[in-house]
Symmetry: C2
């Protein structure tokens, strides 16, 4: 039976999602819990994609195969009883035998949180990126509008990353809002290149700081050159919020 799980995690103390030698990762921690549940059998999990060290998830997804006869409604509790408190499974559903958590993705949504108070909130130090000086929200809003649509996002892909295939992606929504001192950037798209959201946010922050005008965003996209975009924003503000699928068959 193939199962699809939705998981929320605080990425602060993990070396990212993907398994790495001698490191505690989200994947290795979940696979360890599944191995216990399966009496020592190795169960490989396949996520919608990786998240970097320090990056969080509100709705990451992964699929795996199991021959256990646990009733579906008990899977969430069974997994959570074996997972540490910073990784919590919120849903488990049955999917078709050919479903794949990465290849079947229709849309992914990320969120990036900025603490824009003059004095940083100590409770948010692992959960938001702090910017002391007030960012120009209207400039950032205008810059956001240039992101929407289908573009070659080469300028927003980590320079050291060798991506196979096209760097064209479609962004369905790019939205920025402020509540109190908290800025929340939300972006939904068909898919994202490595570090793409963090480089977009770094560029938006440079625009918010007045280092470049909002319309520069268009030129950066058109240039397809990573060196024109802003810095890669810090990981702790980033959340993989939601993964949507075409079909669960």
């Amino acid at each position: 039976m193939r199962l699809l799980a939705t998981v929320t995690y605080d990425g602060t103390y993990y070396a990212g999602y993907q398994i790495q030698p001698n490191q505690t990762t989200i994947q290795s921690t979940i696979e360890k819990a599944l191995m216990k549940l399966h009496k020592g059998e190795t169960i490989r999990i396949y996520a919608s994609g990786r998240t970097d060290a320090g990056v969080h998830a509100l709705g990451q997804t992964f699929h795996f195969d199991s021959s256990l006869s646990i009733p579906l409604e008990n899977w969430t509790r069974a997994l959570n009883s074996l997972l540490p408190a910073d990784i919590v499974v919120t849903n488990v559903r049955e999917v078709g035998d050919h479903f794949h958590a990465r290849y079947n993705v229709k849309q992914k949504t990320y969120q990036y949180m900025i603490d824009n108070a003059p004095i940083p909130d100590p409770f948010q130090r692992h959960y938001m990126h702090h910017v002391k000086h007030e960012l120009d929200l209207n400039a950032m809003k205008e810059a956001c509008s240039y992101l929407e649509g289908e573009h070659d996002f080469s300028a927003f892909c980590a320079a050291n990353h060798t991506v196979k295939g096209s760097k064209v992606r479609e962004i369905y929504l790019a939205h920025i809002e402020k509540e109190g001192h908290t800025i929340r950037f939300t972006v939904s798209g068909s898919g994202f290149l490595y570090n793409m959201v963090r480089i977009i946010v770094g560029t938006l922050m440079a625009i918010g700081e007045g280092k470049m005008p909002p319309e520069t965003m268009q030129k950066i996209i058109a240039s397809k050159d990573r060196s024109n975009a802003g810095k890669t924003a810090a990981p702790q503000g980033l959340y993989l919020k939601e993964v949507e699928y075409h079909t669960f068959d």
Copy 2:
């Protein structure tokens, strides 16, 4: 010159407020920062009161004496540049030479946060106490109403604590509210006995779970017997929210 500082801290990784041998505490960390600022001179700080290991503060206060000629508006930044990211000074003001951060307290306000969702939020594991089963908010509200006023709170004082003097305290406000799955208990009073807020919350939770009716709160207060009250609630839900003073002279 005597200065009064307001400080916010995430108490998760500290062995409480007060200095203890071979432990990292809030007090020792702040005094270390002050010592650096004063070129090696020991500067003792005096807080409004202690907080236990894992307990947080939104507005703890402490006073200290300094002969440094730092302009008042630069003190906050000077201290924060020497403090770790989980302790943040939000305000520094000058007070009279006889002012004392503990003895001059008029009113203290605490807040206790409960995550009452069926599945715990991993981002709140250090910042709320999780209760899986839905608590009866109306019963807890009724129980709250019996707390207000002047009472001998012996039943809500840690049994192993030898308090000198009266255990009569006045509670000005005891309020409980729910937003989504989050329950917030707020209590203001003239002063609080050791563990008093956590024992009150433990009793409120027993009432919310239906283990005792709301009016039992009155009987527990009248009994002055710690063994009648509920368990001491977990530290991570507790915040010292605000300290108010009669005078700053």
